[in-house]
Symmetry: C2
């Protein structure tokens, strides 16, 4: 069966997905039986284009690479629901920007698709953090699938591993490095002895830190991911504001040096502890023994160590961000959702 | 739908699966919709018992814990095919001992089940290493599923992650620590300066090394896993004897100390390199930089770093052996294979 894909949000990640789909068309068909056409692309800046027989993906990728918008392709008109119907979309990739206060416009897009029985994958933390119960229930009642691999650790398959690869195994505790920006800053301070301000400046110059770095350095981004994991793994609703959260602005090169002197290093650790009948969620700078796998995670890489009943400790390390890496998350979900 | 489970081979791993199934019955039903009865258990030493309405799992677990055989349960008689039919088995867990020369008795059991449309999961490296093509083809033609998470890294979900969690992503290179015994020995030598012979003795006393340690210390076990990964990931038939293989018997505490002095440690690395148009498979002691995640893997733990096109490097660390850990691999596969 041919999958008709809609892409909503054609920024860095959405464009990366289109590039991967275009490049791997033959391989996806041969290896995964995944045969597709892209029938709808909708982006606030670049326009809305639609063709139920499949848009010219190759030309779209070329145009986007050249910085063009989507003007030379068949325009789509009408409400979002009408666009989904006209394009005969069977699965949607949602990659609009994250808004952790409202979840919009992601929630509206996802609701529209799921309610029509269209499978959805998103890389947008907002809808998953703020409206998970509603969207998961809607998906179930409409016979649609709802996936979100990219909301934590980009395409590193943490969620897939926890939900499917370790099915039947109970998670007792989880701790990890879930924010690449802060890990880059702490690694830099540890390696070169530069101050927090200098390391932050370098992170910004490399594109790892945003103009306003508060979301990263104060631990809000990591806390949003903890909130999502608490929901997915334990079914708990823990608002981001309820998470015991401390950022890295108070960390000095001297503190890191002192940690090194007793065989440790400092990492911003995000975690959930569900042992001993408690349920504690946190984001805090912590000293980690140099012999622990998390200590060797440097730069923008992410990692999570999961303590379980049947497998003891399992650690997954991989990219935490990146356009292609997050596009890969969408692709993995699209393949998993295909109808045969 | 109720799943009727057959267990063939009721040694350490098979018994662990029964314990987990018995303990988690309610959780498996509520969380995964996995409702089952065990209708057949067949073991060369402990006997063959059968009840299409479901054996008394709770009592079986108690008896096995007390070292009893299965004499007090309804006996099963007839050929293996007849046992599968009488027990109305819908999925089989195969956990007989590995024979890397013949693949038996695993191959015969798996063939019998798949040809009847019965899903199969195995922890037995023999059938996967020696008869993968035949069994995978048979499964497909009979509408049965064939899974084998436990043959590499026990229940650490490496195969699941590579085949599903990273679907659409191309593996370029893979290297890892795939044998716990040799990693325990090398870790011990590095930490305490003891000789290879002393470390081997300790491994044996802890149950990590067998009476004849050749399979582990000469790299045969790791090579069998490389052969399996070459098949699963790249579709290549690489017999174990064709893998460039060197064991750890030549490693001295002095060599490890020398490696430490230039910021490295020595690990027995199993790998596949598929970059630059080559395809090279190997098992060899290698110096690994202390800053690499694989350097921090000590004791019987296993780990694999995978270099990919879209995700860069992804590393998975977890148990490489153990009765409960390998039983968990069977459980994950059983859940994934359930019919709804």
């Amino acid at each position: 069966m041919i999958q008709n894909i809609a892409l909503v949000g054609c920024g860095n990640v959405g464009t990366a997905l289109l590039e991967i789909l275009n490049e791997k068309r033959t391989e996806l068909s041969e290896k995964h039986g995944f045969i597709f056409r892209v029938t709808l692309i909708s982006d606030l800046m670049k326009g809305t284009v639609l063709d139920p027989e499949g848009l010219d993906l190759n030309q779209i990728v070329i145009d986007l690479k050249e910085g063009k918008n989507l003007d030379s392709f068949p325009k789509g008109q009408g409400s979002f629901g009408e666009l989904l119907a006209k394009s005969r979309t069977t699965m949607m990739a949602e990659a609009t920007p994250t808004n952790l206060k409202t979840g919009e416009p992601g929630i509206t897009h996802i609701r529209a698709a799921l309610s029509r029985g269209i499978h959805v994958t998103t890389t947008n933390k907002g809808p998953v953090a703020l409206a998970f119960d509603e969207l998961a229930t809607l998906a179930k009642s409409c016979g649609a699938k709802f996936r979100y691999e990219g909301v934590v650790m980009s395409g590193t398959p943490l969620l897939h591993m926890l939900q499917y690869g370790m099915a039947g195994c109970t998670v007792l505790k989880l701790e990890g490095i879930l924010n690449g920006t802060t890990n880059f800053i702490l690694s830099k301070m540890g390696e070169t002895g530069v101050s927090y301000a200098e390391a932050l400046e370098e992170a910004a110059s490399l594109g790892y830190a945003e103009a306003d770095p508060t979301g990263d350095v104060e631990g809000w981004d990591a806390a949003a991911k903890v909130s999502i994991l608490a929901k997915l793994l334990f079914g708990k609703n823990i608002p981001v504001s309820d998470i015991d959260r401390q950022g890295i602005t108070c960390i000095t090169p001297e503190k890191i040096k002192a940690a090194h002197e007793h065989g440790c290093t400092v990492k911003l650790i995000a975690g959930i502890n569900a042992t001993n009948g408690e349920f504690y969620t946190y984001v805090t700078p912590k000293e980690i023994s140099l012999s622990h796998p998390l200590a060797s995670i440097n730069g923008p890489t992410n990692a999570v160590s999961i303590l379980t009943d049947n497998l003891g400790e399992v650690t997954l390390i991989g990219p935490g961000a990146g356009r292609i890496e997050t596009g890969q998350a969408l692709l993995t979900d699209l393949i998993a959702m295909r109808k045969n």
